[in-house]
């Protein structure tokens, strides 16, 4: 039991460190670069037309306050952390006067829902098929799947999402290609709304699944093909254990352990993919919010989404780490 507690303490420390370093990165980027973000924003706004000099001066003062550029370096640092801890990123400039935190709170369920469902489907599907392919190495169909996985795996998210968009948007328009739900429906727990949400999420989820499934498949296949050569598998075979039972409780269970660690490691990358997918399919999550905020020059919103995504991904990793001992009982002992 003490081994388990030590494990949890270690994971929690790592979680705090990830969040700390991530937020500090955000601080360094916004405060220590030689570029003055205030002048950048002003030039972005004024490039559209003439603005009165007085208005620019006012904007400069309020922007300096918003960016937290007043006072000494240490004061700025403290102000920055205070804001992060209170989740107070000020009002959004592109959707004035809605606070940034409200915008993020509105978008977060969409992203979380899409990510959680597609990640679980991807992981289960990839590992199941990969495990089968590693165990039944002679099967033709599974070999073919391996070739497809190899071809799909290295393609970047954007390209695949674009291909899906072209296929289902232009060549064979059967699925909605943009938005999170039909425009004319009220957002309530009605049957029409839920089905509309599901229908709209098919393409974004499909692109995430198609891209992700390959790496799990290939990883699991090579893990399983290593495990089946172990002596205890041969012993189980000789002892007459049914092959399905060998596969599920002797081979797969052992091979799954590194795959769970892999899931924790790749969570950041999966989130990156979601940002792109959301933008391509116009899905109303934090990814779209981030990209639109950059176009609109909305500093508070960009910083808010960055912070939230660092926090969200680290929480996801922590959750997987805490579930890990259930699968690998060795953690509790050592």
């Amino acid at each position: 039991m003490s081994g388990y507690l030590a494990y949890i303490a270690k994971r929690l420390a790592q979680f705090v460190l990830v969040v700390f370093i991530g937020i500090n990165l955000a601080y360094v980027i916004t405060h220590a670069t030689p570029i003055d973000p205030v002048e950048q924003s002003i030039s972005a706004v004024t490039s559209f037309g003439n603005t009165a000099p007085g208005a620019i001066e006012q904007m400069r003062t309020s922007l300096r306050e918003l960016y937290g550029l007043e006072g000494s370096a240490i004061q700025q640092y403290v102000v920055f952390w205070k804001r992060i801890l209170r989740a107070d990123f000020g009002p959004s400039m592109s959707a004035f006067p809605t606070p940034v935190s409200t915008l993020i709170a509105r978008a977060l369920p969409w992203t979380t829902g899409l990510l959680v469902v597609s990640t679980i489907v991807t992981w289960v599907l990839g590992n199941l098929l990969g495990g089968l392919a590693g165990y039944y190495q002679r099967s033709r169909g599974l070999k073919l799947l391996g070739v497809i996985a190899m071809g799909l795996h290295p393609i970047p998210y954007y390209i695949l999402a674009l291909l899906l968009l072209i296929v289902f948007g232009f060549l064979w328009p059967v699925l909605p290609i943009t938005g999170g739900s039909a425009m004319n429906l009220p957002q309530a727990w009605s049957w029409a709304f839920v089905t509309s949400v599901l229908k709209h999420s098919i393409l974004p989820a499909l692109s995430l699944i198609l891209i992700g499934v390959g790496s799990w498949f290939l990883g699991m296949r090579s893990l399983v093909s290593n495990v089946v050569t172990e002596d205890y598998v041969t012993y189980a075979e000789l002892a007459g254990v049914k092959s399905r039972r060998i596969l599920s409780s002797y081979v797969m269970r052992n091979a799954l352990v590194p795959q769970v660690t892999g899931l924790a490691i790749s969570l950041g990358g999966i989130f990156n993919g979601a940002v792109i997918t959301e933008k391509v399919f116009g899905y109303p999550g934090v990814g779209s919010l981030l990209v639109d905020a950059v176009y609109a020059g909305d500093y508070g919103l960009v910083l808010g989404v960055t912070t939230i995504s660092i926090l969200g991904v680290s929480i996801g990793v922590l959750a997987i780490d805490l579930l890990y001992p259930l699968l690998d009982p060795r953690v509790k002992v050592s």
Binding site: A13, Q14, L17, V18, I21, G22, L25, A26, I29, T30, T33, I35, P37, Q40, A44, M150, G151, H153, P154, I155, P156, Y157, Y158, I159, L162, L163, I166, F170, A264, I265, L267, G268, G269, F271, N272, V275, I276, K279, L290, V291, V294, Y295, Y299, V302, L303, V305, T306, S309, I310, V313, S314, V317
Partner: protein, 288 residues
């Protein structure tokens, strides 16, 4: 070295396909020096011409020849990937070897930082970078930033090899013969990790080129330097798909997919080569 190449070509179909794909893309990128048009000039040819004998891949709505534009784009994209890979390899080697050899608190500190960089979602950070830098975000700047963020996973891999090298006898004898840590790492351990460094180079290039394409497509890079992502960005700006100018998007997409699959297959076949077990089973399968 040549012997290894010959073996790989003979026994490894993945390596063969990978070499062909990467070779083709490299050839295309080298053609850039023969382009009749400077890369940033627009309206040098009639716009929106479909692929034909005069314009092999058609022309863009900005009056550029897609074929020659593509040679510049793929050259810059590959160069970008190589730059990021080279710099991040150095970082990964230094941190991985040092951490694995020294152990103790140096290892613990380096690895906690390392694990942080593995987990953090990099895209929002890069977007934040672009947001602050805007037009000052040059090609080289982005490569530098990405190299500083993209070493972590490989450093851990190198560390695990370095840890096992530390236990080997030759390390002990070099310690007793009075070599410094730097000498041991560079002269004794570095040659052992070089194969992994090569295979991770491919994976790192896939990673960095993928992120660059993504950022460029969103318009978050220096869009005036032609890259694959930049080409798709301009095509989207001119709504090429809706306007029916499909060749403007299709050819860059095909070339970038070829690059990715080629690099990936090279990485896979090198990994197999490093792991002697799978190499043996493969050779056995061929002869039997």
């Amino acid at each position: 070295m040549l012997g290894i190449l010959r073996d790989l070509l003979r026994y490894n179909a993945e390596f063969r396909i990978g070499i062909v794909l990467v070779g083709f893309v490299l050839l295309l990128s080298m053609l850039a020096s023969f382009s009749p048009y400077p890369p940033q000039d627009v309206y040098v040819v009639p716009p929106d011409v479909p692929p034909s004998l005069t314009y092999w891949f058609g022309t863009t709505s900005r009056g550029q020849d897609v074929f020659w534009q593509l040679t510049f784009a793929i050259r810059n994209t590959l160069l970008f990937g190589c730059t990021v890979a080279l710099i991040s390899r150095v970082l990964a080697l230094v941190i991985g070897l040092l951490s694995g050899y020294k152990g103790g608190w140096i290892d613990r500190v380096l690895m906690s930082i390392n694990d942080t960089f593995i987990v953090i979602p990099l895209l929002p950070i890069l977007v934040l970078f672009y947001f602050v830098m805007r037009d000052s975000m040059s090609w080289l700047m982005l490569a530098l930033i990405m190299a500083c963020l993209g070493w972590a996973y490989d450093a851990r891999l190198i560390r695990s090899v370095a840890m096992s090298l530390k236990m080997r006898e030759f390390t002990q004898s070099s310690v007793f013969s009075g070599m410094s840590t730097r000498e041991i790492l560079v002269q004794e351990h570095l040659p052992y990790v070089m194969p992994i460094v090569f295979s991770t180079t491919m994976n790192n290039m896939i990673w960095s080129i993928g992120l660059e394409v993504t950022l460029a497509v969103l318009g978050f890079t220096d869009i005036n330097t032609p890259t694959i992502g930049g080409m798709i960005y301009w095509a989207n700006q001119h709504t090429a798909m809706v306007a029916g100018v499909w060749w403007w998007i299709a050819f860059p997409t095909v070339v970038v997919i070829m690059t990715f699959i080629g690099l990936f297959l090279l990485a896979v076949s090198m990994n197999e080569y490093i792991d002697p077990r799978s190499r043996l089973s493969r050779m056995g399968r061929v002869t039997s």
